[in-house]
Symmetry: C2
Subunit: 230 residues, 2 copies
Amino acid sequence: MPKTLSIQTKNPGNTPELIAASLRTAILQGRLESNQPLRQDQIAELFGVSKIPVREAMVQLRAEGLIEFAPNRGFVVSELSPAEVEEIYVMRMALETKALERAIPKLRSADLIRAASVLEISETEEDRSQWGELNWEFHSTLYQAAEWPRLLNTIRVLHNNVGRYLLIYLGGLSARDASQAEHKKILQACQKRDVDRAVKILQQHLSRASRRLVVFLCDQGDHTIKGVKS
Amino acid sequence: MPKTLSIQTKNPGNTPELIAASLRTAILQGRLESNQPLRQDQIAELFGVSKIPVREAMVQLRAEGLIEFAPNRGFVVSELSPAEVEEIYVMRMALETKALERAIPKLRSADLIRAASVLEISETEEDRSQWGELNWEFHSTLYQAAEWPRLLNTIRVLHNNVGRYLLIYLGGLSARDASQAEHKKILQACQKRDVDRAVKILQQHLSRASRRLVVFLCDQGDHTIKGVKS
DNA sequence: TAAAGTATAATCGTATACGATAATTGTCAA
DNA sequence: TTGACAATTATCGTATACGATTATACTTTA
């Protein structure tokens, strides 16, 4: 369990939502590891609330696939098998290409500027825990122009699911530089309104990330099958 | 509010799940209409439980997009605008073609027989509230062979979201016959392991349903913008 | 009458409490 | 020592209760 997840002062939103957001970030940043049990009492105390809003937050996170549930045993942080990572990338490819296709003709210069500045910030960002967030910022800045909010949200959920693992694998600087270079190419194609080229690079970008991630997870010492150590 | 949603005898599963399943079915079958508020006390009493498992069920259904939530105002059954229906069909097309592509080479004869028998049953099924379920049975029988459970689940959620509306529009017998004919063609292509043809027909099937549904919703007396009558 | 304000009722949100279930530890016999 | 069983502890699941919020009905006043 991390030292502290978040301490709220008042209640400026709704409580289960705030708790879900805090836990979500902790999982994405790798501060909560796979298979780690989430104790309701403990988390409730951490946030200074009872178990009830905590459980609602967890039902939400379970629906997003970030945690798993077993009756009377509680919730644990999900672990993805290489096969599941592949599956998620198949879905991302199918959905993100649709989003990008529709977004490109609708991109405003403000969107392009924003995407470019996110890339710049990424260059100098030292804090690894922020990389996943910046990565999402870049992609979502482009996709949101499609004005398909449900699609964007589904993509976000899928992105979050691989987020933790992406973080580990981007740890290698060469992988990160390659990823950055691909982002720049995608942005250039967007600026030229070259849909086919942008989509093609995006596909390469995702399938490369998928392959690297799968290799990483397979090499990764533990040959784990869905949380059951062999 | 319908007469009865479901009366449980014991607790053979976990309670919020059972409640969610029951409400989900009620929404899919059109027994709970769009914008109808879901009163926690009332539903709790209906199931003979307190509000707490009811709220958890609702958080789950909200995550699936079937109901919406406003703090201190509670939950209401979602209403889809024509634009949202289109969006969902774009997503379905992107995802279902991937599922079908991968499934076809892996389809076992048992799967094909099952799909065929679902179509047969559909022919004779009088009860309209079952059509959505049978429709899903047919599609999911084909898709599950892909062995991508997350993808299948996401498709199911999307299917559920348009389920109610589909039900209304399939009310017209000609539309239903057309849909059945397309299903048969898809199945034939699957039997011949003709991936390209099957995918092509599936795309037509979905885009036709989408167009018809959008037209239907636009004609549909009420020119409603996200629940706010104009 | 209509707008504004107030009182009442309906509903929500969750802290507390407690029985139910699972995990852990301790005990005993083989 | 080790396996089976019992006792203990930890944790879960939710019914109850109650304050907080919102909706509705009822005044009051201009």
